[in-house]
Amino acid sequence: MENILEVKNLGIDLVTRDSIRRLIDDVSFEVGIKQSYGIVGESGCGKSITAMSIMQLLSYPLKTGKGEIFFDSDAGKVDLLSMKKEIRKIRGKEISMIFQEPMTALDPIFTIEDQIIETLEFHTNLNKKDMRDLALEMLNKVGIPRAEQLLGEYPHQLSGGMLQRIMIAIALICRPKLLIADEPTTALDVTIQAQILDLMNELKESFDTSIIMITHDLGVIAETCEKVAVFYAGQIVEETDVVRMFHGAAHPYTSGLLRAVTSLGDKSKSLYTIPGMVPVGGYIPKGCRFEDRCDRAKKICKNNPPELLEIEEGHKCRCWLYNESGDEK
């Protein structure tokens, strides 16, 4: 397996007592070894639940409805979705995750030491002293001063930036092959954001970890990722390498996103916004999901859903503009 992770035809459902609604539809992507893979999209587009589903962390009422997620584990290629209890051996050891809100992501009533060491307790046979040493070493690596003293403190005594560093330390302590970062900088101050991203880039090199970076912030993508998937309303609408996304985006939605960002620095233009809203409340349009907000929509877009096609090597796009069969209709 040349990729660390292969997501195939993933579907995620919202299951309530009397209905099933598909939130994520037919998502497929691959993350290469030591690659940084970005997933970008507006809130509600399904990027976070996609990340959660990789480690089977979805909870009621969300459920994976179909698909496979192959992972190149120590024990060979496995399908994470079909795993039962064994997935616990993967979680925290081979795949780790950090979350958006560092202030609430740690248990408030255990010390930092307890919470770093907990991961080691699950996955290693080290004794208490070795665990503590390892925890200290990790805290130093994530750039925390006075680590010794901090081990005995509780989450509410620390700042958000500090806690996110600790989250990173917890996530990397077992040297996982894949790190999933779900909006790791969103809840932080701008200056801290940059520090955390630098730290992640640095650690990625020294730990040889692949990263899936989930964000709504194109700046984060530009700074950390090699390959990007753009999510819209539960689907991937464009996937390409980061350079091509910023300089040759194909999908009208991606270009819209880019225009909304780039117009910020330019005072002569007013802020660009994509008109309309993400489809909500379970309503899924018959044709292209972006059709009613798209300024380049054609007749065909209304009633026929486009497919995700490779429009050039390493560049996929879900749009009738790049589909020859669409031109004929």
Binding site: M97, A105, D107, E118, H123, H156
Partner: protein, 314 residues
């Protein structure tokens, strides 16, 4: 920590003064005077004056209160109208019995309530959850005296079992004592367990919805660790509060169970005194019970610090 405890203890003083004032004033509401009750039909002015003097009833109200309270803080609750015995030692002796009953009931209620509450939370919205919730509802709704009467009825009619009659102290004969105490403890414990179940269920569910549970799962924790180490410990505060309140109210309010099973505890002592219009005893018992209740609540507050590091009392 110690300074916090001392501060809280000092804070109790005005509350206790208020409580004692209330007790004192409420007893002044009694229609007719107490001495007539004691004298019965025989009206003897000489004896009346003698009794009034003995119990200080000839003094003005504020003096009566001061007299009572200044002795009470030194553990002197006066003497009973009826038996002329010292009240305080009697209260302590009876309190020990009630305390034993309360501890047994609390243990039973935790042993039933907490595991079933957790089970109900884990199996939320399944038939298991449904059954546990019905049991909890019954526990909350069935009055002690009804369940006690039905239990005694069932034991005697169906199983032909009669609990030993006449109270025996634990240190005199532990096995007979347990046989006497176990039935009221079961009755009180099961009815307490209903609310413990409900509280455990809702507070565990509340914790399970929080973000950090995802982190714990993402680290590779088993469900056992998630539930017992993280969810339960985080959800403990409301459960402790509830159990503390229940213990507090049982320490004086186990009247019904004590009456049905003839356990000579503090509640029964109070009830008997009320029925006999033995007011110094009523006054003393009620003051003591309120004091214990307030103290138990203080202990619960202090326990919080051990459970939740976010609450600091500096």
């Amino acid at each position: 920590m110690w300074s916090y405890i001392i501060k809280r203890l000092l804070g109790l003083i005005p509350v206790l003064i208020g409580i004692s004032l209330c007790i004192f004033l409420v007893l002044q509401l009694i229609p007719g005077d107490v001495i007539s009750g004691l004298l019965g039909i025989e009206e003897n002015p000489e004896l009346r004056a003698q009794l009034e003097k003995k119990f200080g009833l000839d003094q003005p109200l504020y003096k009566q209160y001061w007299d009572w309270i200044s002795k009470a803080v030194r553990g002197n609750f006066g003497r009973s109208f009826r038996t002329d015995n010292e009240i305080f030692p009697e209260i302590i002796a009876r309190f020990k019995i009630t305390a034993q009953l309360t501890v047994m009931a609390a243990v039973i209620s935790c042993l039933i309530g907490i595991p079933l509450g957790i089970l109900s939370a884990i199996k939320r919205n399944t038939w298991v959850d449904g059954i546990v919730r019905i049991i909890a509802l019954l526990g909350v709704s069935v009055p002690n005296f009804a369940s006690a009467t039905l239990l005694v009825l069932f034991l005697s009619l169906v199983l032909n079992y009669y609990p030993p009659v006449g109270y025996v102290g634990f240190f005199n004969n532990a096995s007979v004592n347990m046989k006497i105490m176990i039935l009221p403890a079961i009755i009180l414990g099961t009815s307490m367990s209903g609310s413990v179940m409900r509280m455990t269920r809702s507070s565990v569910l509340e914790v399970l919805r929080q973000d950090f549970i995802k982190t714990v799962r993402a680290k590779g924790a088993s469900e056992k660790i998630v539930i017992f180490k993280h969810a339960l410990k985080n959800g403990l505060i409301p459960i402790i509060t509830l159990i503390g309140m229940q213990i507090g109210s049982l320490l004086g309010g186990a009247v019904v169970a004590e009456q049905i099973f003839s356990i000579p505890g503090l509640g029964l002592m109070t009830l008997t005194a009320i029925n006999q219009r033995d007011y110094p005893v009523v006054q003393g018992c009620v003051l003591f019970i309120a004091f214990v209740y307030v103290l138990v609540n203080l202990i619960v507050d202090i326990l919080y610090t051990y459970v939740d590091p976010r609450i600091s009392y500096k």
